[in-house]
Symmetry: C2
Subunit: 427 residues, 2 copies
Amino acid sequence: MPYPIKVEVINFGDELLVGIRDNAHLTYLGEQLARYGLPIHRARIITDDLDEIKKAFTDAWAHSDVVITTGGLGPTADDMTRESIAEALGAELVFDPSIEEAIQARFKVMGRSMAAHHLKQCYRFKDGIVLPNDRGTAPGLSYRAGGKWLIMLPGPTHELQPMFEKTVLAMLQSAGVLTEEEAYLQIRTCGSGESTVEQVLQPLIERYPSVAVAFCVHYGIVDVRLSSRGGSMTSAELKLIGQEARELVGDDFVCFGHCSLAKVVFHELRALDRTLAVAESCTGGALADTFTNISGASKVFAGGVVCYTNDVKMDILGVPECLLDQHGAVSSECAVALASGVAEKFSTDYGLSITGFAGPGGGDEANPVGTIHLGYHSPVGVWCKTVRYTGGRLDVKARAVHAALDWMRRKLKKYKMEEMLCCGGKD
Amino acid sequence: MPYPIKVEVINFGDELLVGIRDNAHLTYLGEQLARYGLPIHRARIITDDLDEIKKAFTDAWAHSDVVITTGGLGPTADDMTRESIAEALGAELVFDPSIEEAIQARFKVMGRSMAAHHLKQCYRFKDGIVLPNDRGTAPGLSYRAGGKWLIMLPGPTHELQPMFEKTVLAMLQSAGVLTEEEAYLQIRTCGSGESTVEQVLQPLIERYPSVAVAFCVHYGIVDVRLSSRGGSMTSAELKLIGQEARELVGDDFVCFGHCSLAKVVFHELRALDRTLAVAESCTGGALADTFTNISGASKVFAGGVVCYTNDVKMDILGVPECLLDQHGAVSSECAVALASGVAEKFSTDYGLSITGFAGPGGGDEANPVGTIHLGYHSPVGVWCKTVRYTGGRLDVKARAVHAALDWMRRKLKKYKMEEMLCCGGKD
């Protein structure tokens, strides 16, 4: 294949064009491919129209080296993508009895029988191969011709992702299209803005002109991706430079790689063998939700309280009424009382709390909309912190969750020795 | 403009191609445009490369009637989209002092002074107009030539969305590109699969061949969109057919339009002047999060407990230990105890609970991974229900949240009279 290899993604599905669903396939494939050295060059989203499918595919096939499609492999009459693309390629589709067997077997397990319309899913390119689907009926398809490569993946996320990770990744790696090792070194940071992180890393950027540096920002997290321009550097050399970068960003360093802030906190607590509970007002469950997205979270995470009223703060979490009268529910004092209250009531070692005005309503002069107070209760002390964000209700919720997790991560790191030695906790 | 008008969206931004961020702009614009009669015909996501930008734009301008771009209007050296597109169009950019004034004024409010690099944001197409940006520095741009229309929108969501709703929508409506009224009638249903809903509506589909019917599915919700083929029907006629459709889908009917299940429940409770609290095990805060995404939720929603351990279920929500011993935490019995427990502890009229195995770990023969028990406590009775889903941990969480909300919506509807008469509640 030529260098640089151009990879293009075509997503089929009207639901992506009429606002029904975010294009999660593009996000997923983009992340996976960039991680192994082949950022997506271009993507298109195409309506379910035979003519459009043919036109878009023909153009992509002419201008790109690897074309990955998603969707359109279902059993219904609408799903004619396979046939349209075969026509555009001038390639023959053949019936493959082994696909029928696999679909039959799948239906048998479900205690149902295979319907006739599934027969159209049993075709593959004559000179192509079949990508097995463990989770659904439509297999993926791979076809190579004229130095180009077509990979067709099914639409459902829980079918596409395992297929990519189990089969496609290795296939592209062994063909040298993707790298075996991760192609960039990602340093995840939190606490400073993109321009500050860039400034902090400036000496390093100047010292190593053969290292390409890219920044990606999401809700307060700034990811720095270091890669070797033209591939002149080994991954060991890149790792050394990554270590230098880590030292430059200091306490803003979250992790190498893609770990979520919640997962970093989870691992720290797991290592300490300690437990956590959370109390949320304005984030309303989003913090707990983040923790419980981690498989196995229950080893550390006992749960939390969403306390949307003062009564709940008092009755369930023991916040004193006089505290609420004096300082209000959106205050540092209340944040601390919530954190300690939830740790006590849930018998956990740690408590983390968030209270504030997510907007658009609420807020006053002292605490305008976007003001968030965080509270932290640990075996070695209690703290509070105030942050302020602009943006819509959902943005403020997401930023506040990241701020709380990042703050807890820093505290855990700073007081590591004390926390390890501390004999408090689960008694 | 020709009919049908072809609208194409081009999203600029490497972060969309390397898995940093879902393409929320496409989802948003797709929803808005389809709602007003112009579904997006095609979309592309383009890397920040001058040559690619020019090529993609030239192709889009040749094949589409309306081209909407997002991103690339920032002040940094990377943001050359404006210039590349002007070059591709052969159109002149001119410095517009009124843009500079607006940016200066914005910086003044923030107590900062305008940096020199913002000057490049002060250019507009010579024969084009400026779309004011209330929330950021980069204004949007509009340019019409040769029967075609280019609209360039800024990248940040909180700038793009208000600009679209305040300026672009009206502009496209008054030019007759978008309809003044919503172009389709959406019937949101929950409870049956897509093919069942289609079957139920079959008599109506056959009786009105000039009505186009489209289905959109998301986590258990099936949206039915009715529109008039070729625009031969008035919106009043469509509404009458919508009423017929509503009767056919029966209890599966959630609402006309785009209201979330949580919002439907919220409105019902608001009308009854009643309150709700939730108890969540496997959904871990996702149910509460959905409620607290509603602005003003606190009028109804008191909060909830994420009870990830048996201790929390017992200590905070009063679930009897013997019940957990006998039936386990993933059981109908526990679901009911959680719902009643949270309603009692939070002094609310209603309690809704979810317990189950979201996977990938956990589960047993009686309750395999994906088994979810729901509990409901109301002034007129308590109920439980069991559902089962396949899919990954996050899918199961999302489906379970919808299942719980849909179930509560049905119960509220069924016992409306009793609940209105019931003198229980806030005492």
